[in-house]
Every structure is written in structure tokens, then in C-alpha cells.
Symmetry: C2
Subunit: 217 residues, 2 copies
């Protein structure tokens, strides 16, 4: 199909598709003439992947490019690409927190959590900062404490770890052994879309609990 057909198939304007091509979010089509290229089903799927990262994952264009860069390189082992994508999806640590002594304390709490739960993470995994930042925020608003062992928070976090470890191997089971394009799709969609689903279900449980405690009827 021509670029107009790709636009119709994905609902994404031609100008936006050209922007994705320029930024490397979308692989080039097969050139058929000067200034003309042919696109196929692989382009349709990639555009949908990009949209899902932008919309459901709320990533920026630069972050999407970063997620896909390592994922697309067949020379990079899949586990390395997975880690790179995970890092690119983690929000930047807020400027104000980087020098906050509480952030350093929170990082030691996270390191203990990782150790205690025998989670095999790269030492530089940015997801550790993401958890530390959430902890700083929770502590700031009195929802957890960092200044002393916090049995309630630790038990709850360990319960999350046990729960998600139980499903993680299953989540990864559908990732194929060799097809790199499918590996990338499953990894990214499995992180972003399942996460959105989980967040939605947790919010439903919170609204339900709020209705039962504060609701009129």
C-alpha cells in the first residue's frame, strides 16, 4: 500500500507517519519510484505499537524511539533489549529528588527489597529509581516511612513481588524464542497494555472501596 493507505489502515495522518519515518520510529517502505514507497502489514503493526506507547504508555516520542532502538537491533540479545526497553519506559527521576537525601535512603530500601526477594536485576536498572521515587512521594505524604524499618510497607511490597513473580514467567511464556519482531511486540505490549489493565483494575477496586466506605447508598 502507499502511505495514504497506511494512514487509512491505522487512522494516523500522513504527516504524522512521515514524522515517524524521519524520527526512526517506523522502518522505511520498499522504494517503488522516486518519492514513492510501498508499505505492508509490518508497517501497520509498527504504527499501532508506536501509538500504544504514546497513548496508553504516555511515553514521549524520544522515549518511544529509545524503546524501539535496542529492540530493533537483531545483534542485541533479547534480554539486553528487554532491559533497555524497560529503562526507556521508566520515568526520569525528578530534578528535585536527585539530590534529596530521602531519595538515597529510599534507594537503600529498594536495594534491600530486591535482595530480599532474590530479583535478578541489572545493577543499573532504572526501575529501581522509579520505585525509590514512589517511596519518597509516599513518605512525603505520610503514607509510608523511610526513617525506620516499616513492617507494613515491606510486607505489602513483598506481597506485590510474590504476586507478580507468580505471573511473570507466564507473561513471558508467550514470547517466542526466535521471531525478533514478535519478541519486541510482546515485550512492549505486554509491559504497557498489561500494566494499563492492572492499573485500571486496581482503580476499580479503589472506587469500589470508596463507594462502600463513603458512598451514599
Amino acid at each position: 500500500m502507499r502511505i495514504g493507505g497506511l494512514s487509512t489502515a491505522t487512522g494516523v495522518p500522513v504527516a504524522t507517519l512521515k514524522y515517524y519515518l524521519r524520527e526512526g520510529l517506523l522502518h522505511a517502505g520498499r522504494a517503488t519510484a522516486v518519492n514513492q514507497a510501498d508499505y505492508d502489514e509490518s508497517h501497520v503493526r509498527r504504527v499501532r505499537l508506536v501509538r500504544s506507547l504514546l497513548e496508553l504508555g504516555r511515553l514521549s516520542i524520544a522515549e518511544v524511539a529509545d524503546v524501539l532502538a535496542a529492540a530493533d537491533d537483531p545483534e542485541v540479545p533479547i534480554h539486553t533489549a528487554f532491559g533497555h526497553a524497560q529503562d526507556a519506559m521508566a520515568p526520569e527521576v525528578a530534578e528535585a529528588h536527585r539530590d534529596d537525601p530521602r531519595f538515597a535512603v529510599a534507594r537503600t530500601v529498594v536495594d534491600r527489597f530486591v535482595e530480599r526477594n532474590d530479583l535478578r536485576l541489572r545493577p543499573e536498572a532504572r526501575v529501581c529509581d522509579m520505585l525509590a521515587e514512589a517511596l519518597v512521594l509516599l513518605a512525603e505524604f505520610g503514607l509510608t516511612r523511610l526513617d525506620e524499618p516499616d513492617p507494613i510497607g515491606e510486607a505489602q511490597f513483598d506481597a506485590y513481588a510474590a504476586f507478580f513473580r507468580a505471573s511473570a514467567a507466564g507473561d513471558l511464556a508467550c514470547v517466542p524464542d526466535t521471531d525478533r519482531i514478535q519478541q519486541v511486540e510482546y515485550t512492549v505490549v505486554g509491559t504497557v497494555a498489561v500494566e494499563a489493565a492492572i492499573n485500571a483494575i486496581r482503580r476499580m477496586a479503589l472506587e469500589d472501596a470508596s463507594e462502600r466506605r463513603f458512598g451514599a447508598g
Copy 2:
């Protein structure tokens, strides 16, 4: 403190603070002279709340304003404000999905899920669209099926519901009965920061599973 002091206390530039004041994200200080106002601890906390919604929650300025608008009105019952904040935090359904017949199918799957798990939600709760959109995406990439009853997906989703319902009442237990400002803080931080923590822990579990399946050592 003057606005410069508020800037120092929060690490947010004065120009940004003035922008928050104009957009109604931050309540006015106590006027002490023409063009001069005094800010206190309540302003520091509010700025931190706004930053956490923007950075960790990845909301837009307009969404943050929307979350806080209902939450701040003491005439609005807390459960209503909670629902409003939840709606404002849910991502918009992508244009391309609104007329997609699969989205309508996914909504019926979500309605059955809500019914089956006896979740008390407002019929218009946007979180239902959020879950439906995640389902469409999962189906699009072959990670779930919408065209027939899907026992695997349903069992997994019911497990998430049971897990989060078990902790939701506890999460809400620290919300005070009357102090409206604290109610708002706990509700918003409890949603955004706990969600970030949960997502981080799930990603850690996935990286761990990837290491065990694909890792070199």
C-alpha cells in the same frame, strides 16, 4: 514565605509557580502588599502534589487541574470527588479506537468483568474504557482474544481483581474521615504513587523472569 522561598522549598522555578497560580493548580497566597503574597506549608505540599501528578503520574497540566478541581471543592462529597479524580487520571480513548467495533466488544467484556466481580462503579466510570482499550491492544497483538470466551484472560483478570480488592480497603483506611485536604492528598498520592510502585515491582518481576529465561548467566 515569599514566592522565592516557595521556589527554594520545592525546587520549582518562580515562573512555573506563577503559571500554577494562574491555572488554578495552586491556591493564592495571603496578600501582604500589592503584588506580594505570603505562602505557607500548605503551598509547599500542594506544589509537591502537582509535581507528582505531572512527573510520576505523567498527567498533563489540564488533567492535573481537572483532578484537583473537584477534589478541592468542599461541597462535593468525597466519594464524588474521588470518582472525578479517577476519571481525570484515566487516559483518553484513542481516536482510532472510539469507532472500532473491537472496542465495543471489549467494553462488553469489561462490563461482564465488573458485574462478575461485584465492583461498585459509576456506570460512566472512565476506568472501564481504560481497561477496554488495554484489551483491544492485547487482542491486536495476539496476547488475548475478544471474539470468544477467553478462560485464561478472564481468570487472570479476576485474580487481579481479588488481589487488589484485598488491599483496597486497607489503602483507604488511612484516608481521614473529615480533613478534606488530607483526603485529597491521600487519594491522589495513593493512586499515583502506589501505582508507580506496583508497576515498578511488576517490571522488576518481568526483568527477573527475562533474566532467568533469556539471560547469559
